[in-house]
């Protein structure tokens, strides 16, 4: 018996197939993963993401603490509600976790981290917090979260809010959140589609779930969430990067802010990696032959071997796709070893799909 989110009974009621996910009993699908994937690309679907870890960081040194803790710079967050994606690194420049941090108001930030990494992350946050005075780190085990995603997600969810909230939410920019008395709503997600992530007190979340269902938002499981994020070229912690891999070889250089002199954990290691030159790069793969690319398969390129970090089937492209770490400079056609056979694949730019549309072009 694993941990259960406050929506567990809702999942059973909706006919979910429940699987263990990092110690949590979570819905993998409610019948068909492909159908759920499709509904998010074409209409609106929702995911229980209450297993994610929410931490509020406050106090006069909250900003300084986060600037030291994170590879991206929270000083970039100029307006209230604004969100920033970042990695949290160890001294060796490996990724302890990836996360989203929201600037809610002066001296108050909300950090959403992964579930599988909860214990080590909370320990790391506390340990690094000891170097700062006047900060308060509060793990919010009293809240739950639903991600509503898809081209009609915003339209379908808006009706559930009161007039004042609707007004604010209809003007919400992407990657921006708004705080209300009873909930926090951000225009963020993990699918490559528009939508909201809605956070509220756990005891009220089942009611929101039921009202979203009634508004025509389909329940979607973790299976669809994985193929959606893969198509969108979004990294999965533990597969695409971990404590032994640098963000610089995980397609996450764009999240590392090193232009100014800010000191942050892992900076020296990243600088050394840059000075030495990066031996690997992170790419998209499109399978040209029939079959399905899977995690850890060997990628054979003209200049050396690489490895798939996340592979699956793309329901939108109806072809198998993957993200892989390959020798720097590899391009064009490559081969992937699947059950002792070499299948043809092609290195492509990420993402594969954005807002329902294929991003594949004819270039190599």
């Amino acid at each position: 018996m694993g941990n259960k989110t406050p929506l567990y009974q809702c999942h059973l009621d909706a006919g979910a197939r429940i699987v263990d996910f990092a110690g949590w009993d979570m819905p993998i699908n409610y019948g068909s993963q492909l159908t759920e994937h499709e509904v998010v690309r074409s209409d609106a679907g929702m995911f229980d993401v209450s297993h994610m870890t929410v931490v509020d960081v406050s106090g006069n040194n909250a900003m300084a603490y986060l600037q030291y803790l994170l590879a991206n710079d929270v000083a970039r967050l100029g307006t209230r509600g604004k969100a920033l994606y970042s990695c949290m690194l160890n001294e060796q420049g490996g990724v302890i976790d990836d996360l989203i941090v929201y600037y809610l108001r002066d001296n108050f930030y909300r950090v959403v981290i992964n579930s599988a990494t909860r214990e080590k992350d909370l320990a790391w946050l506390a340990q690094q917090g000891q170097n700062f005075t006047d900060i308060n780190i509060r793990f919010r085990d009293d809240v739950a979260m639903i991600a509503v995603q898809g081209p009609r997600a915003i339209e379908k969810s808006l009706a559930l809010f009161d007039e004042h909230q609707q007004q604010a939410l209809s003007q919400l920019a992407r990657f921006q959140g708004a705080e209300f008395d009873d909930c926090f709503v951000a225009r963020t997600g993990y699918t490559g589609e528009d939508g909201f992530e809605i956070l509220m007190l756990s005891d009220r979340i089942a009611d929101l779930w039921d009202r979203l269902l009634a508004a025509g938002v389909a329940a979607c499981g973790l299976g669809a969430r994985d193929t959606l994020r893969l198509e969108a070229g979004m990294n999965l912690y533990g597969s695409d990067m971990d404590e032994t891999t640098s963000p610089l070889i995980s397609g996450l250089s764009w999240t590392v802010a090193m232009k100014d002199e800010r000191d942050f954990i892992g900076r020296q290691a990243l600088q050394a990696q840059k000075d030495e030159g990066l031996q690997q790069s992170f790419v998209g793969l499109l399978l040209l032959d029939k079959g399905v690319l899977r995690n850890h398969l060997k990628v054979v390129t003209a200049i050396g071997d690489g490895e798939i970090t996340s592979g699956s089937y793309s329901p939108t492209l109806q072809q198998s796709i993957a993200m892989a770490r390959v020798p720097t400079g590899a391009s064009g056609e490559v081969e992937v070893e699947v059950r002792n056979r070499l299948l043809k694949a092609k290195i492509v730019k990420l993402p594969f799909v954005r807002e329902g549309k294929s991003m594949l072009t004819n270039e190599g």
């Binding site: 197939r17 993963q33 492909l34 029939k290 079959g291 399905v292 899977r294 089937y313 329901p315």
Partner: protein
Amino acid sequence: MSEVPTELKFLSSHEWVLVEDNVATVGVSDHAQELLGDLVYIELPETGSVVAAGDSVGVIESVKAASDTYAPISGEVIEVNEDLEDAPDRINVDPYGDGWMYKMSIEDPEELENLLNAEAYTESIADDE
């Protein structure tokens, strides 16, 4: 609960076998397709290939995972369901009908005795249900 037709024989690796006129038709069980989820790719043995009981003769892949499929008995593959190549999800929709995988000759009818009947197969999957 998934469906387990009583007229079929099973392997614990979830293949079903229907014996008619000295020909065995082979597919995968309803339970297996449920566990795998939406199927997106299948590799089947070639017509004419001679297989032994227990040989890995193909692969079934869902979005989630790849799974080997094994020959239930020894014999020659005499017909393959080629419709599955473009529509492997037929196994999801109709595992005991349109989703059949291949037909084979029965080299040694005694090997059929090693297969599970519906009751024994139901018992073997009880822990997963």
